[in-house]
Amino acid sequence: MSAMLQVEGLTKHFPIRRGVLRRVAGTVQAVNDVSFTVGEGETLAVVGESGCGKSTIGRALLRLLEPTAGRVTLDGTTVTDLAPDAMRAMRRKMQIIFQDPFGSLNPRMTVAETLAEPLLLHELATPGDVQDKVGALLSTCGLQPWHAGRFPHEFSGGQRQRVGIARALATRPRLIVCDEPVSALDVSVQAQIVNLLKDLQAEFGIGYVFISHDLAVVRHMADRVAVVYLGRIVEEARADALFAHPRHPYTRSLIAAAPRPDPTQRNVSAPVEGDLPSALNPPSGCAFHPRCPLAQDRCRTERPALRQVGTSRVACHFAETSEAGDSRPEAAPSEALRRRLAILDAARAKETA
């Protein structure tokens, strides 16, 4: 059986226009030839540094940004071929949760209006029973019935994010793109929201594309992880395998760069040096070669294909050889990471108790 969501060769380029005639002066290659699958009830985390195209992947696969090329298939329907009307109906099955809980809710609509809108739009409720369904949604997401009449500005960040989740959940979607859903929240609230997302997934079998730069949250949430560098997937593997045996040098640097509060440990890791190269003019060959500790002549001219190595997919010429020699797998997660994971687990235990 094929996966619920299939993304093949997803590409999004932004033309840069200059001058009076709006001539195309260049192209930002935000997303290049990205392919992945997400199964029912599965979480695929998409990680990478800011500006690497994570969010663009999420928006392009929902067609909030029209992809330049590629195919997105959800439950056998090719989303990228749909006409506007069919696409609007299809949105019922694919939703998004935004990063900013302050900007993603219409400030002029009460919570009840916000949640009733998708229900009425997709005819999942009638004007008669919509209030009951809104109430049910609120309690599913850990809010109280009396919150329905309030406006977004009367809520805290965590509560607003719950409203955002309830809105995404209203249409009972098959797929939710979570675009950094917790990075605007503080740690204790993050734990509640992450666990809410996990519980909802267990209950409704939703597939998540979980975009994040927070490896602690990713480790807690994800079944599989795709690491994105400059608009391309450089490594994709099961979460446990990826954190235990990162194969791509960029993945290793990313894991090593997770913040550690212990000053004596500061120089142990070798984080990536320099800045992300411009997507307007990406480096030749392997896009990572200017910052890669393993880079050789071959990397400058020849772009490594994403290929199967063991259970992972890796785009590095030295994926097979480098791991043995240069591996510093995270046998012991850093103190900060362990503390974060402990908080996440504690919050979960408290909620289920």
Partner: protein, 298 residues
Amino acid sequence: MTAATEQTEAQVLDAPMPVQPWWQRLLRDPAALAAALVFLAIVLCALAAPLISPHDPFASSRAVMQPPVWAEAGNWTHPLGTDGQGRDMLSRLFYGTRLTLIIGVVSVAVGGMLGSLLGLLAAFKPGLDPWVMRLVDVMLSFPAILLGLALVAVLGPGAGPVIVALAIATIPDCARIARSIAVSVMKQEYIEAGRALGLSDMALFTRYLLRNCISSIMIFISLRFGQIILIGAALSFLGLGARPPTAELGMMAAQGRDFLLFAPHIAVIPSVLIFVIVLSANILGDALRDVLDPRLRS
């Protein structure tokens, strides 16, 4: 503790901060309160003109250029005196204010609505943006007075052409302001959220864009109102507006010009009234902006 009391307690802790409604905050400002009272009084007098006018505003009497009651030769038959043709100033003032306000309100409403719609559309459909804004630039290059002259030349004098000219003069500024407000709203994530829900363009435009722009646009329009009254009075003063014997404040000031030395009240009283209307409208508009614009809230 029972579940019921727990819930009420949580509800109390969870309750939003009580915020005074905007009109209460508006009236706490003494200048705004005074302006509101003055403006309200003027509007009521204008609306009630047929009921409260002591004389027929068009009927001449023998008492020509009679001074107002506070002057030596004044009397209570004509509290504000009479004009050059012996018509009662107070009655004409009521009727004149009514026409001036009607011209202002209608032209600002029509022009404001059309202009805002253009601006919102330009922001909503980026493809339309350059076309709409070039059109607005062209409209902006015609001064309202010149436009009024041209329209009167085509349509003949009267209140109608003045309203059309003023409405057209209101469109470009409103379009620009509405566009700039709407562009910033369009960048908000909730617009994308609405799209992600599968909303139609129409629903997105009215429920998301318009609803979040309307208060800022209304503030701008209320600030424009005073200016439009002034331009309308100027057009009437130039003889382009209402035709005599209709009373209109700008025209009354123009008619008094010939008697400025012997009977200054004929020109001065309507001019002062124009001044008061514009001033109170502007103070109200400013206060409204202070109260409604969250960025200015202390």
